[in-house]
């Protein structure tokens, strides 16, 4: 290596460049810390359940006081109608919300990105079928569609023996995230389709074809990495809407029944509120508020740092 070359700055990929920009954004980093805390908490609840740890603040079913005890020194956020700790319920609710939002996001990306890329790349009849499919889906009011899917999927079992996974029992939240994932890929599909249409006639795609890449390779290796920042940004913003959708579904009685979720908490608290028992509603709402705010702040910063067009500062 020559002397001169050592002086050259080390190259950064567009990705690491984006991450570098993001790291300088203090508010976004604070948001990331909050998001990470929620995720770690959810993961911790899973692990402690798997290992059968008896950790007191996760024992949400224990009766720890009188019914409807207002916030006090012993029970900071009070108790519910069975004398259970609202704090413990709120903490435990993280598990359901994060699980549902995460799996629904993954599912919608897994459906939306390939369909969008295929539609945008091949155009013609394939494009028309996919566009027809998603315009039809999106013409049905969103909540109605989720409700319909959730009701159909509820308490069914999906045979996954062909994949060596046994049977997936759709109890409780499984039908919720499947319903949300199966209905909400339209947005990302549309975005990816548009972006792929923009990119597919660029010269680097033609160049890749000219040295012998096939269609599958062009899509997976050349086009998707170039539009993937959209997926990341969409993921961070969509996550919020999934957390809220879970709340709505639980509120409508389609969610998890056997363990607390924020939606179920709001659902029960709704009847208590007129009686002046405000703490359960407040706790669940604040839990949703903080993760929504953190995800929104982080998502915006992510878009600013990953979208090349917004980079000029």
């Amino acid at each position: 290596m020559s002397e001169q070359s050592k002086k050259l700055p080390k190259g950064r990929s567009l990705w690491s460049d984006g991450i570098h920009r993001l790291a300088g954004h203090k508010l976004a980093m604070a948001g990331l810390v909050v998001i990470a805390a929620y995720f770690l908490l959810a993961a911790f609840i899973y692990i402690s359940e798997l290992c059968n740890w008896k950790i007191s603040f996760l024992q949400w079913g224990d009766k720890i006081g009188r019914e409807y005890e207002p916030p006090n020194a012993k029970n900071i956020i009070g108790t519910d109608f069975l004398g259970r700790s609202v704090l413990r319920k709120t903490i435990y609710g993280t598990k359901i919300s994060i699980t549902v939002a995460f799996l629904a996001s993954i599912l919608s990306i897994a459906i939306g990105v390939p369909l969008g890329a295929i539609a945008g790349y091949f155009r013609g009849a394939v494009d028309e079928i996919i566009v027809w499919l998603y315009t039809t889906l999106s013409s049905i009011p969103y909540i109605l569609l989720i409700l319909a899917f959730a009701l159909v999927l509820k308490d069914k079992a999906i045979n996954l023996h062909w994949a060596g996974l046994g049977t997936l029992e759709l109890r409780g939240i499984a039908s919720v995230y499947l319903a949300m994932g199966l209905t909400s890929w339209v947005g990302i599909c549309r975005l990816i389709r548009g972006e792929v249409i923009k990119h597919k006639d660029r010269e680097y795609v033609l160049a890749a074809k000219s040295y012998g890449c096939g269609d599958g390779r062009i899509i997976t290796r050349h086009l998707i990495p170039n539009v993937f920042h959209i997926v990341i940004i969409d993921f961070s913003l969509r996550f919020v809407s999934f957390i809220q959708a879970e709340v709505i579904l639980s509120f409508l009685g389609l969610g998890e029944k056997n363990s607390p979720s924020w939606g179920a908490m709001i659902d029960t608290a709704r009847l208590d509120l007129p009686k002046g028992y405000w703490w359960e509603m407040t706790a669940a709402t604040l839990a949703i508020f903080f993760i929504s705010l953190a995800l929104n702040v982080f998502g915006d910063a992510l878009r600013d740092s990953l979208d090349p067009k917004l980079r000029i500062q």
Partner: protein
């Protein structure tokens, strides 16, 4: 037809685009022969069909709107138009490679240049990742990028236009193709870099014994670099010859006009002569000879206005499509070829 010296021959190739406004006949009945180890230049104004001809050879005409409507593209005695997509992929990059006009956009921004050269190698050769990477370093060295061991980990945005074009060339020659199609390889580069890139192509052509199809609108480059030339006008070939003959004895009025409009050394004073008029709209080509509205002879000639001249060979290797070209009428179609 077994012609030992010929690597690629196009026989009556036509490529059409089906647009909302009608059929655009971007390439009509083009025939040309590229000989082994030689540089063939395709010259013409913007929009005359040069690039579409090149993309037709690669079978990369944008689909679904574009389609090769007819003809034969014979490469190493096989008709490329009869290959299936998989066989064609094996030709692309391996036997025929291509470099493009705009080096700033023809590399994928998310991968390092080494990664991209290695991809081209791995697609056609049974090589492990590290071998392909070593080859990529060697390729970068070959195209004159200093410190290639380190440069291989650079992203395209860290390189200048000239360097990116070198990387493109490295990718193109990484599988020792028989034919390199260079679609205006230097148009986007400044003059000094142009000369370097063309010198590099010359050098590589010597080393690899490959043929080059050079697409350009720069007659200076043609005069300097090309062995054979075809001048395209409005989707057809107007005149073709070896470059010495073409420059010394142009027969088609369009070629003559182009050569007259070149600045000469020591030329001062008045404006340069031009070819009057503009390139015809490909949706509404004029009847007869497509050049007749701009042609000093043809604009008043009824035959030029009604009947389109086919290309005829007035001398060995010197073909022209003009009713008024010297010797054109003496040749009947039977003698042609």
């Amino acid at each position: 037809m077994n012609n030992n010296g010929t690597l690629l021959s196009l026989e009556n190739v036509s490529t059409h685009f089906f647009t909302a406004d009608g059929i655009v006949k971007a390439v009509q009945n083009i025939s040309l022969k590229i000989k082994k180890g030689r540089t063939f230049a395709l010259v013409g104004e913007s929009g005359c069909g040069k690039s579409v001809t090149a993309l037709s050879v690669m079978r990369l005409v944008p689909h679904p709107q574009g389609k090769i409507a007819g003809g034969k593209i014979i490469f190493e005695e096989k008709n490329l138009l009869e290959l299936n997509e998989k066989q064609m992929r094996n030709v692309r990059g391996n036997k025929i490679a291509m470099i493009f006009q705009e080096p700033m956009t023809s590399l994928n921004p998310v991968y390092t240049v080494g990664n991209q050269i290695a991809e081209a190698i791995k697609l056609h050769q049974d090589k492990a990742g590290w071998q392909a990477k070593e080859d990529a370093v060697e390729m970068l060295q070959k195209v004159g990028i200093a410190d290639s061991q380190r440069r291989i980990n650079d992203y395209p945005h860290q390189m200048s236009g000239g360097m990116r074009q070198r990387v493109m060339i490295a990718m193109a020659i990484s599988c020792q193709p028989k034919l390199l199609i260079a679609d205006e390889p230097t148009t986007a580069l400044d003059v000094t870099t142009q000369a370097q890139i063309l010198d590099l192509l010359d050098e590589l052509q010597q080393q690899e014994k490959m043929s080059i199809l050079l697409i350009t609108h720069d007659l200076g480059i043609v005069a300097e670099r090309a062995d054979d030339v075809a001048v395209m006008y409005a989707s057809r070939i107007a005149e073709t010859a070896d470059s010495k003959t073409l420059f010394a004895n142009p027969l088609h009025p369009y070629t003559q006009g182009l050569l007259k409009s070149l600045p000469r050394l020591g030329f001062t004073g008045e404006r340069l002569p031009t070819v009057a008029g503009i390139v015809p709209d490909p949706l509404h080509f004029p009847s007869g000879c497509k050049f007749h509205p701009r042609c000093p002879i043809g604009c008043n000639d009824e035959r030029c206005q009604t009947i389109e001249p086919e290309i005829r060979y007035v001398a060995p290797g010197h073909g022209v499509a003009c009713w008024h070209a010297q010797g054109y009428e003496k040749i009947t179609d039977k003698q042609n070829g």
